[in-house]
């Protein structure tokens, strides 16, 4: 897209394709419509103008930066949720590392008691990042493991408790109920828990991401998103629609498979990356 040239309909069409293939979905259509109107009213005239216009549209829809804070009486309890394979367990390891690097004491609850070798996977990570793992037997009630982890975090005066959960699809009503129960049990043992519920979203996910945000939010008090696998070619544009329609901000992005591959979410940087 050559910069500084006069804008034309063909350029707007190509930009619609760029935004659409970034998984912006209906938000892409809406933004391009606004750009077309502004072009007809001569409010934007060049390709520079439209790029600035669209980047600002995306930034405005994403809202202000939103951080994960340690709040209240320790431990701050963070519950990780999301569909199968999205990156929850690896993201927990990265978050744990984020806090242990700050000298904080971290406990992790191995709340996935279902999937083969789930606890073993998390044990390896906990050892690598210097966190304490609380696990149950395979097939144990995940709410019981969550409770044990909360108990350990409270008595050992940990700063942070990170609770992993098994992947689940939003169509599995009994599993969404299980998630609600895990959240309630955490709150019973630690007042105010979970202080944050983070939905881990795979960057390659299309419009189904909006459904995921709605349904998980209906089951547990989701406070934010983490978009994993943004080191791939997928742009993760569905988070714009999620912010607009479900009100959830992105707090972090996952950019690799190592414990250090977690970055705070920057709406400006994200908007810019849509056009690369």
């Amino acid at each position: 897209l050559s910069i500084g040239r006069d804008l034309d309909d063909e350029t707007l069409d190509r930009l619609e394709e760029t935004l659409y293939t970034a998984d912006l979905g209906p938000s892409a259509t809406a933004m391009i419509e606004k750009a077309r109107k502004a072009y007809k009213l001569r409010e934007i005239k060049t390709t520079d103008d439209v790029m600035v216009f669209l980047r600002k549209e995306i930034e405005d829809r994403l809202g202000e930066r939103s951080e994960l804070e340690l709040r209240g009486v320790p431990p701050t309890v963070v519950l990780m949720v999301g569909v199968n394979g999205s990156g929850k367990t690896t993201t927990i390891a990265k978050l744990a590392r984020h806090f242990t690097q700050q000298g904080k004491k971290v406990v992790i609850g191995a709340g996935d008691t279902f999937r083969a070798a789930a606890a073993e996977q998390l044990q390896i990570w906990a050892d690598r990042v210097g966190a304490t793992l609380v696990r149950g037997k395979a097939g144990a009630d995940p709410a019981a493991v969550a409770f044990d982890a909360a108990e350990k975090a409270a008595t050992e005066k940990a700063d942070v408790l990170l609770v992993d959960t098994a992947g689940r699809l939003v169509t599995q009503a009994h599993l969404m109920q299980e998630l609600s129960k895990i959240s309630r049990v955490l709150g019973k043992r630690i007042p105010g828990a979970p202080h944050d519920v983070l939905l881990v979203l795979d960057a390659t996910t299309g419009q189904n991401a909006i459904q995921q945000a709605e349904k998980f939010k209906a089951a547990v008090p989701v406070t934010g998103l983490i978009v994993a696998k943004l080191d791939g070619s997928a742009k993760g544009g569905a988070v714009v629609g999620i912010r607009e329609r479900v009100g959830l901000p992105v707090k972090f992005i996952g950019v690799g498979e190592k414990a250090d591959d977690l970055e705070p979410f920057d709406p400006k940087e994200f908007a810019r990356s849509m056009f690369e």
């Binding site: 394709e17 659409y20 293939t21 970034a22 998984d23 979905g25 569909v83 199968n84 394979g85 999205s86 990156g87 279902f114 999937r115 083969a116 070798a117 073993e120 996977q121 044990q123 390896i124 990570w125 699809l169 939003v170 169509t171 795979d202 960057a203 390659t204 996910t205 299309g206 419009q207 189904n208 991401a209 459904q211 696998k229 080191d231 791939g232 070619s233 997928a234 742009k235 569905a238 498979e257």
Partner: protein, 290 residues
């Protein structure tokens, strides 16, 4: 649903007006939106609309008394043809037959390896699972647990590279009476050059008779990028679409076939090891239609 939307579009002309090209265009816009909502790739949706348009003109939909139904039927047929394969999948006897699974991180390869082994065992084959993901924490353990649950042996080793392990799996299989070898590989990004070279090396050393791209059904516009890259490296002969028990419409199935020619052969319908079924293009077309 697309059915209701099209009925609405044409309702105004059902009451005694004649359809115009403009009306047909409105109908096609609805169809395009349905495809995009179903995560079909932007460019692929264009091609499909062109095809539907040509057939709508050819079949004189404009003169039809039930244009909505006729367009839907054309749409359904075009989608089915876009995904159907005229050559059925035959997992034959090659002493042993080698099946390789590859794909992005978290798409469902390890679970699918177990499901495929289970399906073939039920058909009277003697499968061997090969734990060729040597990087993910506890990946080998994960496949071993699945093997134990199924009573299917798992070949696992550390201190070896994935291509070497997969190469030695063949004579191992022969020596131990296995007639099918299933290679589970590590998830990788198609833009990670060293890892794409590694997966190409696995193929070169193990010479699989079938290479399946394991793809998450909820993948959006990026499906064409990853599928195309894996296809260029590995010459895919099929796709396994996982997590289709969710509510995603699964447009990736169409986009992938469109850009690589590789048809979906199996679909994953759950986390249990018996939840793998053969793919039916017409059922998938109805699902994408919504």
């Amino acid at each position: 649903s697309i059915n209701q939307n099209l009925q609405k579009v044409f309702a105004r002309f059902q009451r005694g007006g004649k359809l115009t090209d403009g009306n047909i265009q409105d109908g096609l816009r609805e169809i395009r939106q349905a495809l995009l909502d179903a995560d079909v790739h932007f460019k692929v949706a264009k091609d499909l609309i062109d095809e539907v348009t040509n057939r709508a003109v050819g079949e004189k939909v404009i003169e039809s008394v039930t244009p909505a139904q006729q367009i839907i039927k054309i749409f359904h047929d075009v989608l089915t043809a876009a995904m159907a394969s005229d050559k059925p999948l035959v997992i034959g006897q090659h002493g042993p037959t080698v099946i390789m699974l590859a794909g992005l991180q978290g798409s469902g390869k390890t679970t699918t390896a177990g499901k495929l082994a289970n399906l073939l065992k039920k058909r009277g084959r003697q499968p061997l699972l090969v734990a060729a993901d040597l990087q993910r924490p506890a990946a080998i353990e994960q496949l071993k647990v699945l093997g134990q649950q199924l009573g299917i042996p798992v070949l696992a080793k550390t201190g070896v590279t994935p291509p070497d392990l997969c190469a030695e799996a063949i004579p191992f299989a022969r020596a131990n009476g296995h007639d099918v070898v299933i290679l589970d590989t590590a998830g990788r990004l198609h833009i990670d050059e060293p890892l794409m070279q590694e997966v190409a090396a696995v193929k070169a050393r193990a010479k699989p008779h079938h290479v399946f791209f394991v793809c998450d059904a909820m993948t959006g516009q990026d499906a064409v990028n990853s599928a195309r890259a894996f296809h260029e490296r590995l010459a895919l002969d099929g796709v396994i679409l996982t997590k289709l028990d969710g509510d995603t419409r699964g447009g990736a199935a169409i986009s992938i076939r469109h850009v690589t020619g590789a048809p979906v052969r199996f679909v994953g319908l759950g986390e249990k090891l018996d939840q793998l079924e053969e793919f039916h293009a017409d059922r998938m077309a109805s699902r994408v239609l919504g």
